[in-house]
């Protein structure tokens, strides 16, 4: 059995990249798809295996290496799923995992915080994020400059993050493991 490269700490890699891979996979599969957790674990398992077998030679950064594995696994998953879905439409499964519950809890806190924002911030968030208008169109609707829209979006974000961090900890935080960066 090959030995892992001495400069790759696999525990650190898993701790650091679990939330990153999970985020990318969830975006690709959709948040309602419970398979994202399995896929994330598979990507990390493949990473460990490839590092141990010497396939990761350090030519690229480890993040780039993991990104490639992640994208390939997502492509395979979607291809396989489409083949199955043509014969057997999938029923939704009940997702159950600490990460999911943690995410839902944060969104719940954040949703409550959104409701407490002053109207001038709430209406910018509504047009820009809820209705997904462009920054220029949002500005036109509100009679503001586009730069002013960006300012309000950023300020609203800061207010929300502060409000939620007071009650629920960092939003993107995640990993159950100890990420230091």
């Amino acid at each position: 059995m090959s030995r892992p490269k001495p400069d790759v700490d696999l525990d650190d890699v898993v701790a650091r990249f679990r939330p990153v891979v999970g985020f990318k996979v969830r975006r690709a599969l959709g948040p309602q798809n419970p398979d994202w957790e399995d896929l994330t674990n598979e990507v990390l398992a493949q990473t460990i295996e490839k590092v141990k077998s010497g396939e990761f030679r350090g030519d690229s950064k480890i993040g780039t290496f993991i990104y490639t594995i992640t994208v390939r696994r997502i492509v395979d998953y979607i291809r396989d799923k489409t083949k199955i879905a043509r014969r057997f439409p999938a029923e939704s499964e009940a997702p159950a995992a600490e990460d999911r519950i943690e995410t839902e809890e944060r969104v719940r806190h954040l949703t409550a915080a959104v409701a407490t924002l002053a109207p001038k911030y709430r209406e910018v968030l509504d047009l820009y994020y809820y209705q997904e208008l462009s920054r220029e169109e949002t500005a036109r609707r509100l009679g503001l400059s586009p730069a002013r829209v960006s300012e309000r979006v950023h300020y609203a974000q800061k207010l929300l993050l502060k409000a939620v961090q007071r009650t629920a900890g960092p939003l993107s935080a995640p990993p159950s493991d100890s990420r230091k960066d």
Binding site: P19, V153, P170
Partner: protein, 206 residues
């Protein structure tokens, strides 16, 4: 602190407005950059919460225009409108919660509240690159936006119709053997989101 170059791309990435190449560049970057990833994940959570919170009352510029002369403060017209609004608010308290439209996923990272929108086609495996996308009309919708994606966004467009032709230059970028997904959102007059579809996938046969 996130890198300024990439921070400027976060919203566009999360709202599916980056090109395929830009998306890949951005994703490769956040796989390497903890600060940019954290900012992206935080922003995604905020967008999800904004979606979950539902639409906010928006005071558009039009709403701030001068009022007609009959609507001076404390006029009879205002008193009448006030009374009607109070009655309306009280009556709303007695509307069962179940009558609210359901939450449904739009296939991205968030959900929206509203009516669902049904996509007609293409779906499943198709023999050749589709020429158009077709969906079922939504009552009251005045505009539809369409997002077509491979692994990354391929095309976004808007139309007043319930179908849209795929331009030849976009079709030329689509390849046999690959899977594409698409979704549609319907907007009512004034730009309010009225309905959104789930994602539908199709595979162009080799």
């Amino acid at each position: 602190m996130p890198h300024p170059e990439y921070e400027a791309m976060i919203d566009a990435y999360l709202l599916g407005r980056l090109s395929e190449e830009e998306t890949e560049r951005f994703e490769r970057h956040y796989f390497e950059c903890p600060e940019c990833f954290r900012e992206t994940a935080d922003r995604a959570a905020m967008i999800e919460a904004v979606k979950a919170a539902g639409p906010a009352p928006v005071r558009t510029r039009e709403a701030n225009m001068p009022l007609p002369s009959g609507f001076r403060p404390f006029s009879l017209a205002w008193v009448t409108i006030g009374a009607v609004l109070v009655l309306l608010a009280v009556s709303l308290l007695f509307i069962p919660r179940a009558s609210r439209p359901p939450d449904f996923p739009d296939g991205g990272i968030r959900s929206v509240r509203g009516e669902t929108l049904t996509l007609t086609g293409p779906v499943g495996t198709i023999k050749e690159t589709p020429k158009e996308l077709v969906w079922v009309p939504v009552e009251g919708a005045t505009e539809y936006t369409v997002v077509l994606e491979g692994i990354k966004p391929v095309w976004t467009a808007a139309t007043r119709e319930t179908s849209i032709k795929i331009p030849p230059e976009i079709a030329a970028r689509m390849s046999p053997g690959k899977i594409y997904t698409w979704r549609v959102k319907a907007y009512a007059a004034g730009g309010a989101l009225a309905a959104a579809s789930a994602r539908k996938s199709f595979l162009i046969a080799r």
